[in-house]
């Protein structure tokens, strides 16, 4: 059984998602001996190619040509993954510890989505501010930013449904979401939650008790602050030691960090530190 991490990166006019994926691959190498593949049609800088097991073109053509968020291709990850067991991650994440035990946990499932995320203090984050659609429509609180699947019949069915919902998202939103809380854009998390509802499989694809696998979600309103600024990086310092340990404010970070803000790569010393640690 092969296993590995897969990320999908598509640059747009302003954001370099491929560079984020490279940073993620570097962070992964520091603590883990696991393969990572990148699905992209964009150019990967020569010096970073060796970070990846495989660089895979987006299959079935680019469905997100005119889109800014580029989520239209996310359902293709299942079909593009070269592994029997895959963890799918967003590009704007860092792996800050060894996650071998997570793989062991995940092997008990055919698919697994984290449904509880953490704040930078390591507490379960209250995500209601960003998840009104989920709360008001009683959708499973799934985060596709970190999920797992085995190549199997069930996961294939799930992803086929995801393809259908993503390609017809306005129709499915109308059918499944209250008009007051209906998002005006395509959200892969909402689509995955609708699929979970259609297949009635929430209890098979997530675990509300387990704190891990999960990720630290750095959206400002998840942090439990009474005063929230427009960027969490304006409120908290980011410190990375020479061995790659990363602190946000006073808190040492472990697990998976979802830094969410696009300018993190240029503002933080992460790229420089990790490049020197993995020699690229």
């Amino acid at each position: 059984m092969t296993k590995g991490i897969v990320v999908l990166a598509q640059n747009n006019e302003t954001d370099d998602y491929v560079e984020q994926a490279c940073l993620l691959a570097m962070s992964l190498q520091i603590h883990n001996d696991v393969r990572i593949s990148l699905i992209t049609d964009d150019k990967v800088p020569e010096e970073y190619i060796s970070l990846f097991d495989k660089i895979i073109p987006i299959p079935f053509g680019d469905s997100a040509e005119d889109s800014e968020w580029k989520v239209e291709n996310r359902w293709k990850i299942y079909h593009a993954s070269p592994y029997d067991e895959t963890i799918v991650m967003d590009t704007d994440m860092l792996v800050l510890q060894n996650i071998d035990t997570w793989w062991n946990f995940l092997s008990n499932y055919e698919m697994y989505f984290t449904s509880k995320v953490l704040n930078y203090r390591g507490e379960t984050a209250n995500t209601d501010y960003y998840r009104k659609t989920f709360v008001e429509n009683n959708l499973p609180n799934l985060f596709s930013g970190f999920h797992y699947f085995k190549k199997c019949e069930f996961a294939q069915e799930f992803y086929h449904w995801l393809e259908l919902v993503v390609n017809n998202w306005e129709t499915f939103y109308e059918q499944h979401l209250d008009s007051f809380s209906r998002p005006k854009h395509l959200s892969i998390d909402v689509c995955a939650a609708i699929v979970a509802k259609i297949l009635d499989c929430e209890s098979f694809i997530t675990n509300k008790i387990s704190k891990f696998p999960s990720f630290t979600h750095m959206k400002q309103h998840c942090q439990g602050w009474s005063s929230v600024q427009s960027s969490w990086q304006d409120q908290m310092g980011v410190y990375i030691s020479k061995d790659g340990s990363l602190k946000i404010g006073n808190y040492l970070q472990t697990g998976v960090l979802h830094y969410t803000e696009k300018d993190f790569v240029e503002k933080s010393p992460a790229l420089e530190r990790y490049r020197s640690l993995v020699n690229v």
């Binding site: 203090r121 390591g122 507490e123 602050w225 009474s226 409120q235 404010g249 006073n250 808190y251 040492l252």
Partner: protein, 283 residues
């Protein structure tokens, strides 16, 4: 294994902490039945003015004159500025004559035996994180974290510790944080320059936990009940206390509140001292 309570009493010209220590020592004897040691820079005053039989040991501290100034309210409308002699609390580790020590502020009015079982605890370090303002009308979030973006708040008002190498490291760390307070308060996003033991203990616990949530510090039984110095301790008999609690949005108006058998951190030290004067006069 020797066990006992440890109090620090350093008068500042406005607040008589020595008197509070004598008062508290009697209550510790009554409710917890353990020996009490006091460390003070006013040994002569203590010996000349009070019955010292209540103390197991008296430890002399050097007199120092700090400039750690703060307001001391006496109800919502009256305040004085005085020196806050709260430094060197970390020295309790070396000063305490006991293997197991219950360190207490002198304004912690013990009125029950809730803390008695701590000496049988499997944990080596116990402290309060959970707290309750008995007024229940004020925002208590200032006691959740030491600042909005920083670490969990712990009360240094009552601390139980055994003499262990780990705890020695902890108290050394508190001492270091105190010495480098201006550095640490900035790193931990504390805007006030006033040194507070609560903050230093909270930061040290966070560091002992490896800069994460952890279990270095375990919880003392129950939760820390307190009234702020905007309230007034009005009357006291045995284990009953009557407070005047400041009303929300009505400056200078109060609501009467009575407690029975409840240990309370009475932050209005001036009203506490008036009550102690009455009690000592009746003795």
């Amino acid at each position: 294994m020797s066990k006992g309570a440890f109090l620090i009493a350093r008068n500042n010209g406005h607040i008589d902490y020595v008197k509070q220590a004598v008062f508290l020592a009697k209550r510790i004897k009554k409710y917890l039945n353990i020996p009490v040691t006091v460390a003070t820079d006013s040994v002569d005053y203590l010996k000349d003015s009070f019955d010292i039989q209540v103390f197991d040991q008296i430890i002399s501290l050097d007199y120092t004159n700090e400039s750690n100034l703060r307001y001391f309210f006496d109800g919502a409308l009256t305040k004085k500025t005085a020196s806050f002699k709260n430094n060197n609390r970390a020295s309790v580790y070396d000063l305490s004559p006991y293997d197991e020590t219950l360190l207490m502020d002198t304004d912690y009015v013990v009125s029950n035996s809730l803390l008695k079982p701590v000496f049988n605890s499997s944990a080596d370090f116990l402290i309060y994180k959970k707290s309750n303002d008995i007024a229940k009308v004020r925002d208590e979030c200032e006691f959740d974290r030491i600042s909005d973006t920083s670490v969990d708040f712990y009360w240094a008002t009552v601390v139980y510790f055994r003499k262990t190498d780990t705890n020695r490291t902890f108290f050394n760390l508190v001492s270091h944080i105190e010495q480098e307070w201006n550095h640490y308060r900035r790193v931990y996003q504390i805007t006030s320059s006033l040194f507070r033991n609560d903050f230093a203990f909270s930061i040290a616990i966070h560091i002992m936990n490896g800069f994460q949530s952890g279990n270095f510090a375990q919880q003392l039984p129950g939760s820390m009940m307190y009234t702020t110095d905007k309230d007034v301790l009005y009357k006291m008999t045995e284990d009953e206390m009557m407070f005047l609690i400041e009303k929300k949005d009505y400056l200078g108006e109060y609501t009467a509140l009575k407690t029975k058998g409840q240990t309370i951190h009475v932050m209005n030290k001036q009203s506490l001292n008036r009550i102690i004067d009455e009690e000592f006069a009746n003795d």
